[in-house]
């Protein structure tokens, strides 16, 4: 049985406190109605709970969390998944800026467009490998300073049909991890010290697995996506600033 809650007239502190209490009591499923800009929902939660959010959560949804699975029936604001370590956030709408800042593990799936600086500072560690999949298009600085993990941009559904699939300065300072873009990518959009290559067998196998999960969540057709061309972006060097200093 889910805990069903209408939080329309609650402050975010009260909602979070209530959720923490219920989680400690052993509740594992939640459904939040009337979410309207509530910040920091599920911040720092470690338990493997499941939650449905109806509405638009505010800043930092699921920040520092390492466990929950959150499904958002609406858009999300900036910094969703900030420094998250494990778990999953699925958004059936669009997302703001700095999604997945410094995330170390877990998955973020977005159906529509995202803002600027998404996936900045993502890093992988040991068995942790963070993944962000964006169904729409992205703003500038996607994957900036990226040190590990995977970002996939599909460009399927966008508010901006006239715009290119990603913004400028893609992967600036990137020194680890992989970005896959569906279709061709004009190198004009790329940051420095990156290379674009076609995907190989290994990439394809990985894409198939992860996109199967994405398509199941989003109700998309895998076949029509996976048969498209993908461009793979990786750093030329893992030490982009190795020769910066004189001593």
């Amino acid at each position: 049985m889910s805990v069903i809650l209408n939080v329309e007239n609650w402050s975010y502190t009260k909602v979070n406190q209530y959720l923490r209490e219920k989680i400690l009591e052993g509740e594992t499923e939640f459904e939040l109605h009337g979410v309207n800009g509530h910040r920091y929902l599920f911040a720092g939660i470690k338990q493997k709970i499941k939650a449905k959010i109806l509405g638009v959560p505010g800043l930092d949804l699921g920040c520092f969390m390492s466990g929950p699975e959150i499904y958002v029936y609406g858009n999300v604001q900036d910094a969703c998944g900030n420094t998250m370590e494990e778990g999953k956030i699925v958004v059936y709408g669009m997302a703001g800026d700095v999604i997945g800042y410094s995330m170390r593990g877990g998955k973020i799936f977005i159906k529509g467009d995202v803002g600027y600086r998404v996936g900045i500072h993502m890093k992988a560690y040991q068995d942790k490998h963070p993944v962000i999949i964006i169904g729409g298009k992205t703003g500038d600085f996607l994957g900036e300073y990226m040190a590990g993990g995977t970002i996939i941009v599909l460009g399927l559904l966008s508010q901006h049909p006239e715009k290119p699939i990603t913004g400028k300065f893609l992967g600036t300072g990137m020194h680890g991890g992989v970005i896959y873009i569906r279709g061709e990518l004009d190198p004009f959009f790329l940051g420095k010290n990156l290379k674009i290559s076609p995907i190989n067998e290994e990439d394809l196998t990985y894409l198939k697995t992860i996109l199967t999960e994405y398509c199941a969540d989003m109700d998309e057709n895998l076949e029509s996506i996976i048969n498209d061309r993908f461009s793979k972006i990786t750093p030329v060097s893992h030490r982009p600033y190795g020769n910066l200093y004189a001593y």
Binding site: A43, A79, E85, I120, A246
Partner: protein, 507 residues
């Protein structure tokens, strides 16, 4: 043609070996990590390459017969007031390598040291000094946001506060250890500092390098830092100390980030930073989720929410031109403590141009911030922690009289464990075993030694602070805070005195 390296022609230091004292034990070869000393097997003599010496004095200190003297190299360029050897050699270096100049420790320029232009008051006749040996002297202070007023209500058993206090941290003396990351300094230093902080009833700070598992036991004396790279930051880490410090900037390099090069990321460091072995750890200048005071509030409350409002959140910034307005914004964003690091604040590695020329002295920053927060009626909402250039207990007293609640120190702690300020921490080869994580080198400085030296230093400062307070007729450190009347200026301009809010000596 073979490239010429002009920078290798003119050594900074001269390694003198007194042949009548040298017993050819070769300890110097082992001790010097810069390979200055070598053994010529053919001629059976020790040789030295002066150009490699950084002047750390390790070999000199370790030589069993005192046969080594490290001097400034006597070779001189023709005098030129503008083009002194420092600038000439830097240009050679950059022309050879084409890179950004790096330095370690804090700014070494002869900028005005305001502490040295302030003298401390004492009681004579009209009010008696207090002798801390026979009367209680309160050095205890609290970090955190204090309420505007306390409202008390009667209960059946006594009285209680109507509203719970925000989280406060008790310090037994108004000094904490500044953030220095594991990676920049050795694990042994962290272990020694943590133990000393515990014994002294104060706090040490993890820096941005995450927290090594051997330090979990010092929870009640730990500040965990959250910087833009978020290394080692997860919810357990956030809860692993008593406070969380958001690092925006530091005095040695305001406006730029940090960078631990991949070669320093060994196995243990990779674990605490939670990044793969050998990768660069980049902390960019801004947190890219913070472009405004509103965004800062976003992160402060994200951290508070994730730790259930149990930990005060500090925000550390470098002292820069508009520091008073910036600090006011930080307090309004909800920071329980503002940490301000002046231009002389130390560092493991900073671009030389930043270390030398960016930022303002801490003395002026403390006073300006304290004044601004008082004028705005929000001084009580935060704790002002000042760092960057505190050298002795009198500097601590002066910083507090200028308006700080607490000071943070880093360099004095390193000097206490042997640092000679050779300013080459960024090489990772510190022969004193301080700014290194080379497994052989860190053995030179075990945690017990760090603990003992640091404890001694703090113990000494504690006694001196008590005596100075007593002499001023004060019996608690909190009565000294912002108490400018206990200071007088010597040789400062009217404008400087206005900023510091002190009168001239004789006034």
């Amino acid at each position: 043609m073979k490239p010429i390296n002009f920078s290798s022609f003119y050594p900074d230091f001269y390694v003198e070996r007194l042949e009548n004292k040298c017993i050819k034990c070769k300890i110097c070869i082992k001790e010097c990590t810069y390979e200055v000393h070598t053994w010529d097997e053919k001629k059976k003599i020790l040789k030295e390459d002066h150009s490699k010496c950084v002047g750390c004095h390790r070999c000199e200190a370790m030589c069993p017969t005192n046969a080594i003297i490290i001097k400034r190299h006597p070779s001189q360029f023709r005098e030129h007031h503008l083009w002194n050897p420092y600038f000439i050699k830097n240009i050679y270096k950059q022309a050879d390598k084409g890179g950004v100049l790096l330095s370690s420790t804090g700014c070494d320029l002869p900028l005005k040291i305001y502490f040295d232009h302030l003298v401390i008051d004492a009681c004579q006749v009209t009010n008696p000094p207090i002798d801390p040996l026979r009367e209680p002297m309160e050095l205890r202070t609290y970090i955190g946001s204090k309420p505007e007023k306390l409202e008390v209500e009667k209960t059946e058993t006594g009285y209680k506060l109507k509203k719970a206090l925000p989280p406060l941290i008790k310090l037994e003396m108004p000094i904490i250890f500044a953030g220095m990351s594991y990676g920049a300094i050795s694990l042994h230093i962290h272990q020694g500092l943590a133990r000393a902080a515990k014994e002294l009833g104060i706090l040490y700070n993890t820096g941005e390098g995450g927290l090594h598992s051997s330090l979990y036991e010092y929870k009640d004396h730990t500040i965990v830092q959250c910087a833009s790279g978020r290394f080692g930051v997860n919810v357990d880490y956030l809860n692993a100390g008593v406070a969380i410090e958001i690092k925006i900037g530091q005095g040695a390099k305001p406006g730029i980030g940090g960078h631990l090069p991949g070669e320093k990321v060994n196995e243990e460091i990779s674990k605490t930073r939670m990044i793969p072995l050998g990768t660069d750890a980049l902390s960019p200048a801004p947190h890219h989720d913070i472009y405004s005071i509103e965004d800062l509030r976003g992160l402060i409350y994200a951290l508070k929410e994730a730790t259930e409002y149990k930990k005060p959140v500090f925000v550390k910034v470098a002292a820069v031109n508009n520091i008073a307005a910036i600090a006011s914004g930080i307090v309004r964003a909800g920071a329980d403590a503002v940490v301000i690091d002046g231009i002389r604040g130390g560092t493991g590695a900073a671009p030389t141009m930043f270390r030398q020329y960016v930022g303002i002295p801490i003395e002026l920053a403390i006073s300006a911030v304290d004044k601004r927060l008082r004028e705005e009626g929000i001084r009580h909402k935060t704790t002002l922690i000042a760092s960057g250039g505190i050298r002795c207990s009198a500097d601590v007293v002066k910083a507090i009289a200028l308006g700080a609640d607490v000071v943070a120190i880093g360099t004095p702690l390193l000097i206490a464990v042997g640092c000679t300020l050779c300013q080459r921490c960024y090489t990772g080869k510190c022969p004193w075993g301080i700014a290194t994580n080379n497994p052989e080198l860190i053995k030179r400085l075990p945690p017990e030694v760090v603990y003992e030296k640091v404890y001694n230093l703090m113990n000494a400062w504690r006694s001196e602070i008590k005596e100075m307070l007593g002499a001023m007729g004060l019996n608690s450190i909190e009565s000294l805070r912002s108490n400018r009347d206990k200071l007088r200026a010597i040789g400062l301009t009217k404008e400087e005195m206005e900023i510091l809010e002190v009168k001239h000596a004789g006034e």
